[in-house]
Symmetry: C2
Subunit: 556 residues, 2 copies
Amino acid sequence: MGSKRSQAESSVQHTPMRWWGWGREGALPALSAAALGGVAERIGLDGIPTPPVALEHVVVAPPRIGDAAVAALRRAVGEEAVRLGRRERILHAAGKGYLDLVRMRAGTPEGAPDAVLLPRDENGLRAALAVCARHDLAVVPFGGGTSVVGGLAPLPEGHAAVVSLDLARLAAIRLDTESRTVSAGAGLRVAALERELAHAGLTLGHFPQSYEYVTLGGCAATRSAGQASSGYGRFEEMVIGMQLIAPAGELSAVGVPASAAGPNLREVIVGSEGSLGVISSLTLRLAAAPASSRYEGFVFEDFEAGVATLRTLAQDGPTPTVARLSDEQETELSLLLAAGGGIARRITDAYVRARSGSKRCLAILGFEGSELDVRVASSLAGGIARANGALPLGERAGAAWLSSRFAAPYLRDELLTQGALVETLETAGTWSCLCRLRKAVGGAIEGALRGSGTPGAAGCHISHVYDSGASLYFTFLARRLPGSEEGQWRAVKDAATDAIVANGGTISHHHGVGRDHARWLEREIGADGIAALCALKARFDPDGLMNPGKLLLSEL
Amino acid sequence: MGSKRSQAESSVQHTPMRWWGWGREGALPALSAAALGGVAERIGLDGIPTPPVALEHVVVAPPRIGDAAVAALRRAVGEEAVRLGRRERILHAAGKGYLDLVRMRAGTPEGAPDAVLLPRDENGLRAALAVCARHDLAVVPFGGGTSVVGGLAPLPEGHAAVVSLDLARLAAIRLDTESRTVSAGAGLRVAALERELAHAGLTLGHFPQSYEYVTLGGCAATRSAGQASSGYGRFEEMVIGMQLIAPAGELSAVGVPASAAGPNLREVIVGSEGSLGVISSLTLRLAAAPASSRYEGFVFEDFEAGVATLRTLAQDGPTPTVARLSDEQETELSLLLAAGGGIARRITDAYVRARSGSKRCLAILGFEGSELDVRVASSLAGGIARANGALPLGERAGAAWLSSRFAAPYLRDELLTQGALVETLETAGTWSCLCRLRKAVGGAIEGALRGSGTPGAAGCHISHVYDSGASLYFTFLARRLPGSEEGQWRAVKDAATDAIVANGGTISHHHGVGRDHARWLEREIGADGIAALCALKARFDPDGLMNPGKLLLSEL
């Protein structure tokens, strides 16, 4: 090949997450008593904790899968790669969305896969799919298990049973340092890949909030974007080759840097969310590990001043690696959650010191690259921010953001225990419609929460910037309505998504469609767009086995 | 919309090209007598000119289209928008590939469309397609008419007749300066758009060699890349929204900067080459018109030293706006064509002065942006080039390249008159396979020319660079075999494309698939990839009317 290659089998531990929440068993609390008290007061919690039930109290029906199917699966992937145990099934029963967690903590998941499969390689995967087709088993591909849009719901949808196809063992790595690409199994965790790449002075540069658990295949299947995607690009921009193994065919995208050989089928596999087949391996472009980085905080007088700054940086440069801007409400929410110490403390310390009474918007700008590039870019960006009235908070605030960048899901678990509804949703729009979009969606969320009798707190931040626009990420908190959790959540979700569609936003910027956004997909891509996807599904998954009930509602 | 918008109807003249070649009537000769003599000696031409026949001697059969169909088309798009005249039909009878020109110059095109349609707007386009479906008329969408891969061949392929659907009148422009996007009709010429954008201090940054004629819709349909795409991106990277009007449906891609709403159907419309439907409008991201630019020439000891330089620039920066590197053979060919003055003279003057006897490789590096950015980037890039042994030729060579950047198709016309076979083909590969790919394809071209008894001259240059690899663009010249032009050409094309596929390249980097590469598409995307495209075609073009015989050979 003329290239230097190193072969490495990943030896990553795939420690599962806590079945009822985020992180490993024994993760430390991230919120102070003062913060919990402040939140409780703000949204009217009663202070009575509602911890998750014990694992043995989780209600799961016995597997519906027949003996013949189990025997055939064991022949296909090996005896120990077919798991029927209760714990394994519960660990694969849901993603980590709000409703997933609410149900799981109560011990009443919607269901569980009837079996969990762990094929050793692509041939095992092919054999497993063939058995599933013969025995009418629906298949839910499982990567990091982090979906927040219902992408992992084990819905049999009329099939004999449903299996979870865990890709953890498809994790081989082959590096091409000359081309700066890596070919890897879809089940490889992004964090594990980064550890391997560090030895070669390279990085993928993909850091979603789910970084600790998410897999390459999952990132591709859901069009993931990471916190540093303004600099390193969205996940789909990193994919130069991939393999899809489907019940009725395989698609293989050649790993070339660019091509004019007709429609780009790679971009149909990316984002297919397991509904066409299973992404089994990928070839990804890499970047040099940055020699230097500088993350700084700023406070803007209002959201619009921050937007003007981010737009200038995105359109004229210097392009930040990370660009985040919270609105007034989210900045206040951050303060509330940081009260009395805890994980998000230092950033707000700096903010509090700098505060001048009026409402303000926190921003983080991060630059990575050569020492010279970072110095020049930070200086230019700081000048642009100051010209838009920003007060610099310095690198302390940047360091605080970096140290807490993956903390939100841990905070969520604690707030759930305190009886809160806590949820996020996201969209993107062009610069010219962004401020209107933010107001419409924020207003819809607050209105729906009031309408449910649970007025709450909602905030928004820009998390990714592009030449033509930016993403908007909303977080909201309210008192949870016991017994009506789903109706309460759905009222907000419906109002927010309707507002997104009506105001020029996309139904998802980086969470994906899954089950939660599927009802709106037709409003985004049209009836003929749905028909196009159904035509592809009919070709590659004629029996509708692949992840039913997600992405496409009108199956075939 | 919260954005500043200006509405402008394009008032561009769609002056057609010479029916037998490139450019407007009266374009000046670009090759000196000395250059022509040198080429003739090098490849063994007999010196007897073979000019094109007169227009009245071109053989075109009478239109096969029935009166009822003509009447229906006139009702659909208007009386004067249905053209049956001989000249109009000849002007739409072919693209500008080698075989197209050889046939047209001899007065024997393969065929001509039976009618030319010029709908005024999207509703006219819809109405025209409906009539075509009712009367079994095959449809060839026509933009700038510049295809070099047979994309415009008027093949009825079993249908009652074939019409050319010229999009020239779909050329409205709507600018969103805040989002830096433009929405425009697919028939708008890229050059016309650039003239409009210049008033707003903006640029699309898309400069293919066909720049003077090419349209937005054509660039999207064929996945065009421009000479400055290393800096501004490939055309498909500029597309954030588009509309496809097909015989059996419409696909509309929302104009948002990024989305995770499932598979990206936009990337299936892009590259569809008229085979699914007609791209009618697009929304494109723009860039600031550069305040400054600097183009410089370099000479490298060999191709590998130039590749090392380009790879470093592409992977670690500064990323050039334009990066080109000719191999030894192409550098020699350039010298030959520039002999005795002419359009490519000054670049080689500098080269000749700098020459030290050994074979060398010419390179052009161009940077555009702010004055500071350009100064810093040029200086860094020059340092990297010198570290790889390059001799700098300065800005004179860069200016010469800029002044002759669109000249090659004019040169081709003159070489055709002199009895030459002159053709180009292109591919792309990762850095680790690039040098092997170049040798294999170059060897295949030279071998096939020798095998035809017409040993020729073949050279190659890198025209676009990416993090993970680069494109390779081959040019070759030989004595044309009168009466056997097609067989001679096909022997080379087959050998070259087989070598591309066997050595990890893509069958096209920016020319598209068309008719010429369709036989190899299955080797690139697999039988199931073809099946995926056929499933989409069956849904949107169930009667197979759209551009038959291009892209997909195994129709439905």
